[in-house]
Symmetry: C2
Subunit: 275 residues, 2 copies
């Protein structure tokens, strides 16, 4: 295969570099509709799930490695612009001293609720105004591991396309169905699809492992500080409580979500598990 | 009560400030035996569990708030040195723009295995060469929430007293029994105490929720990259596997540990749970 036409960039004032560097800011991500993913492995994951980077910034020396060259050519064929550059410019874009030698910019994607295929035993995670991008990314990774059918961001959440969130997903961003919506729309959707809504809450009256997760289920997890507002809790079919014996603080949101997610999956019989 | 004798510090070249600033480095933590905890709430938690700060650095304006004054006086009575200072110096020590207005330095503590009281149904988490301080801190928080009897750091782990780890514990550092040891000593201890050792591993043959956790148990969790070495796996009573359906990466270590910890606790009948 002929070598893809790489462009070489030597200055941080190059407009594409400036734009990529800006993608750590939500404003620039919104304006461009793009986000960054760092590392060749994430690009491999992305391709596997049908995502093609729009730009790949790559260390010039790295392009000589055959598996990287192959990856770049594959992306170029699908329309990606390949930009070779120096470690200094990679560091400037990633804002880290030891940057990855491959940094890709992708177009953001999210789905609409009504395009989701709700099968029997479907399992969803809904996050009510989640604030911490590390939590969000970690939850997406867990959602992927547990074969969850979609992660639904309810009302104003942190940005799933921030660098910190993308990093924490470890590639799961590319394989997870992601929806952003408001609570009313979400609740109407789950009602019309007969999806059982179970919230983990300090007001829970049933232990988290005693609820019935056998049918279509969505677990609703609250904001890190304020949890789930009363009106949303009232809309739930069941409120469950994860037992705590602790003296210090409660569970972190991502930890609580992992525990809930595996209970739901157990309730569904670990269908499709790679055991 | 008379006002405690606060010292006022105006320069980052003050030796105590230089030392506290250095506590983000393991070398300085080792030399001084100290570590930092940020925020008044952590100091309140610490006192509750019998820890007294050696130094408290506090924003001068903050000392006028009555609950802060009360906290400082309580610490001073127990021998803490109270240093008032400016936001600029607080930021220099915490290396953050918006620093907490209370930063305390405590003496590090850890226990020896043979001082642990192993009761019936005791539950432990052992981490084999855990590398990420955020994971370690999060696991300590979960251990606290689940009333785990001790967290055992096996072989060379990351430092539980790093700023990142302490922050992730959300105070659980002060309430959790912590031990550092090598694998042989750990394994001899758990054998002599008849503690069932269950590892979560890709080589597991039993599903994680099908093992018997009714007796005294320790779950052994592996390093983020390399898991648990063969020799340590061979020493286990059972290897279990958490089901995965995922296409991208596996579960994050802290997430897997949370799922395991709650299975163990369920096996023990959620004794002592605050339901």
């Amino acid at each position: 295969m002929a070598h893809a036409p790489y462009e070489h960039i030597t200055s941080t004032s190059n407009p594409t570099i400036k734009m990529m560097k800006g993608l750590d800011r939500k404003k620039v991500r919104n304006e461009t509709g793009l986000f960054l993913a760092e590392g060749a492995r994430l690009v491999v994951d992305a391709l596997k799930f049908g995502w093609t980077p729009k730009y790949i910034l790559v260390g010039q020396d790295t392009t000589e490695r055959s598996e990287i060259k192959e990856l770049l050519d594959k992306c170029a064929l699908k329309g990606a612009r390949i930009l070779t550059t120096s470690p200094r410019i990679l560091s400037a874009v990633s804002r880290k001293d030891n940057a990855q030698t491959v940094i890709a910019a992708f177009e953001q994607r999210s789905q609409e609720l009504n395009t989701i295929d709700v099968e029997d035993k479907a399992r969803f995670i809904a996050l009510y105004e989640v604030r911490d991008p590390g939590n969000l990314g970690t939850i997406m990774r867990t959602a992927d591991a547990a074969g969850v059918d979609g992660v639904i961001l309810v009302n104003q959440c942190c940005d799933p396309f921030s660098v910190e969130s993308v990093r924490a997903t470890m590639g799961a961003l590319f394989s997870t169905t992601l929806v952003s919506t408001d609570f009313e729309t979400f609740n109407a959707w789950r009602l019309s699809n007969e999806i059982n809504m179970i919230a983990a809450s300090v007001n829970g009256t049933l232990r988290h492992d005693e609820a019935n997760y056998a049918s279509k289920s969505v677990i609703l997890m609250g904001n890190e500080q304020s949890g789930i507002p009363e009106q949303a809790e009232n809309a739930c079919d069941v409120l469950v409580k994860i037992p705590m014996a602790g003296a210090a603080d409660s569970l972190n949101l991502a930890q609580a979500t992992a525990i809930m997610t595996y209970e739901v999956w157990k309730g569904a019989g670990y269908d499709g598990a790679n055991l």
